[in-house]
Every structure is written in structure tokens, then in C-alpha cells.
Amino acid sequence: MIPTHFLYQLADYEGIAIEWRDMHHVQGIYIHAPGAYKPVIALSNTLHTQERKLRCVLAHELGHHFTTSGHYIIAANSTSSIYATKHENLATKWAVNLLIPTDIFLDCIRKGMLCHELCNYFYVLPEYIIQKAKQLHKEPSLNDAIAEINTSYNVVF
């Protein structure tokens, strides 16, 4: 798995400030306001004790940084709106590809890992494994691998 500290390093390298906030209805926010000298990601304090979720949220917010251009970008995540808009979709796709590289993912499938094992291996939320599977669905050459994931998904969840 990609170490969690790598995500922080990436933010740091990109000049993004991270702010931990006492938020209970939103898990992460990415904002690049025209009046601010650097982009800022807010993370909810509730994520301190949920590393798996933290990785997904932080990667998603980083995704906003890499997939949207210009200022004025403000994006917020709640579990209900994670895939809501076009921007959210792009950011999630980016995050999924960062946390779950295709080659490694397919290797795991070939080793016969089930969905919950994949979740642990990449240390992400199940939603991300499903999202990855959906993304790979668009690759005709990977059809067999996908069918396998779908099966294990049905069994495990």
C-alpha cells in the first residue's frame, strides 16, 4: 500500500496546507481561494482515529488539486456527496488510481484476493475497491479480472 505519510508529503510538495478541524458533518475540504496564497485542505478531527478513511478523504482532496485548474475551487465531501458532481468524480477517480495502482491491483486479483483482502491490502474503504473495479470495467482486456471482483464483492458485502 501507499504509505499514508506519502500523501502528506505530496501535499507538502505541492505547497498545500493541511488544517485539522473540528468538523462533524464534512470530512474533507479542498479550497484554493483567489485571496489566499496557497491551497488548503481541511480534514476532520474525526479522521484521526480512522486511518483507512483518512487516506481516502485526503487522496480525494488531493485529487481536486490535481484535476481542477484555477482558483475558486471549493469542494467538500460528506459521505453522501462523495460521487455527486463532475468535479467529485474526477477527484475520486484520481484518488482511486493513486491509492490503488492498476498493475498491483491486478496482481492481487490473480493471487485470488477477495474484496475485503484488497481493502486491507490497499488500506482503503470498500467503496474505493468497487470504484476501481468500475473504472477497470471500461478496459475490455480486463473483463475477466472484473468479473472475479464482482463475484467476490457479492460474497463479501
Binding site: E19, H25, G35, Y37, A76
Partner: protein
């Protein structure tokens, strides 16, 4: 009286939403929205307010009393944020929105660009 339906359609199309999507978001029937947009049905006051809130415009704008969409009631919203409230934040609950707005205010103060300090 000019028909607010045209404005509503404009705003909806600008956001690339279907009638069905918008109707669902506002909790009204799809056919009601369709009739409003085509001017076959008058818009009740409470609905007008719903539309205005959703699109972050003033009701005056919907009624063609002004060409400035900025709602007066949301003067507390930073201008730069308003368009994104309609898009990215529209699905958030009021509590979540409040947390986001608080954070925006916080960033505006803590990370404010100083003069002659374009990049830091």
C-alpha cells in the same frame, strides 16, 4: 408579467441538470417543473423561494426585476463561493455547509495574500 420559467430553465441548463434531477433536488414533481419552465403554470411564492435558494439567486432575478442574480439575503457568503455553493455544495446538509463556510472564512483570514506576495 414576465415568466420566471425561462430564468429557471436558463439556470438549470447552465448547471447541466435535467428537469428530473432538479425536480428531485427540490422535492417537486417533474411535470410541475416542466409546466413552470414552459410558462404553463404560475410559480407559487414558496416555490419561487425554493428555486432562488437552490440557484443562489434573488427572487427578483427570477422575476426579471433585476439582471443581477446576487441574492441580498446571502450577503454573508463570499462572492467567490456563491457559484460553487450551487454546484459542489448543493448536496450538503445545512450543518455541513456551515462547517464549510466557517472554514472558508478561516482560510480567508489565516492564508490571506499580502501585498506584493504573489507566491510564497
Amino acid at each position: 408579467m414576465v415568466n420566471p420559467g425561462t430564468r429557471i430553465r436558463e439556470l438549470r441548463e447552465k448547471r447541466e441538470m435535467s428537469q428530473l434531477e432538479l425536480a428531485r433536488q427540490l422535492g417537486i414533481n417533474n411535470s410541475v417543473l416542466s409546466r413552470i419552465e414552459s410558462g404553463k403554470r404560475d410559480v407559487e411564492d414558496y416555490l419561487l423561494v425554493k428555486f432562488a435558494d437552490f440557484f443562489r439567486v434573488s427572487t427578483d432575478y427570477l422575476l426579471y426585476q433585476t439582471n443581477d442574480p446576487t441574492p441580498t439575503s446571502s450577503a454573508d457568503l463570499p462572492e467567490t463561493v456563491a457559484p460553487y455553493l450551487a454546484d459542489g455544495l448543493r448536496e450538503l446538509t445545512p450543518e455541513a455547509r456551515k462547517e464549510v463556510m466557517n472554514f472558508i472564512e478561516y482560510v480567508k483570514v489565516k492564508y490571506a495574500k499580502k501585498d506584493g506576495d504573489d507566491k510564497k
